[in-house]
Symmetry: C2
Subunit: 165 residues, 2 copies
Amino acid sequence: MSSSEPGTAPPAAPRMDGRTGPARLQGLPTRLLSLAATHSDRLVNEGLAAADARKWHYAVLATLEESGPASQAELSRRTGIYRSDLVSVINELTDRGLVERAPDPADRRRNVITMTERGRARFARLDTLITELEDEVLAPLGPAERDQLARLLTRLVDHHARRDG
Amino acid sequence: MSSSEPGTAPPAAPRMDGRTGPARLQGLPTRLLSLAATHSDRLVNEGLAAADARKWHYAVLATLEESGPASQAELSRRTGIYRSDLVSVINELTDRGLVERAPDPADRRRNVITMTERGRARFARLDTLITELEDEVLAPLGPAERDQLARLLTRLVDHHARRDG
DNA sequence: TACTAACGTTAGTCAGACGAACGAATGTGA
DNA sequence: TCACATTCGTTCGTCTGACTAACGTTAGTA
């Protein structure tokens, strides 16, 4: 009642995306970034979960594939996974027989993580899967736009990574 | 040729950003998206925390400012905050005297959330703050690039929002 | 009246990012 | 050589955010 009508004619959002929210809010790049990342993460996580994997599994396997055996600390640095969180990731990978964890004879503080044959095969499959998922996430964009997006995001990430490094 | 050869001499990442990880991993748009969003969220959260606020506070205040009083369910739809999470957000805002929660006489299932004078002043300050924080996040990009990024992200968000809507 | 749906709320799950601290091992400087 | 600092793997815990389940109340509808 009384003048202004807040309850009148809200087009009703399709889901939890704030799609029908205020313009100011909706245009904020930081919000768009969060929202886009949420959608992207969800798709990727679901896709990987369907294959009994997680993002971190892929990250670790990709690193091992490219640089060979490494300590957990090194994997942590290369993948961006905190060393405290890496513990369980390596556990999961050893449970699945994809990597092996052995004490480093040269430095007994360390473990050497090595990819197994199964791990290598697994990585190949996951790599294909990831490619498909990336494609699904970027579906609405053309090749040039995807490049553009990747470049812009890289600039952002590089900038902020150095700052608090 | 100069300094970008992975393999034997990894230059040790500055921090938890996976900056020195494998090229394949590092170029993945979904990863860049997550990373960028993480940096962005951190900056925004820290900035708002220093002003005793959170993202959701701003989102709710912005919605009330633009559309006037609303029920919690409506705020949920417009901001994208789940209605279960909105409860505590409204609590925090009422604790700070920024909004008022009153039962809706027209529909006793609902609460009507109304912004107070303090709330309005608060929103103005937060809005300025947010603008500064956005600027900090987008620092490495020029105006045209910021626009481009916002457009691309909007396309992504729109696309995925409709899909699971 | 009986069924259905919306609303606010509580409680809880799950993933990710991150900090604190600790024992074991190693490196370093006096 | 001894003391101190650092690194490593690990456990535990915190915080935010997204999301589900369920429940009592209230409204709308068949």
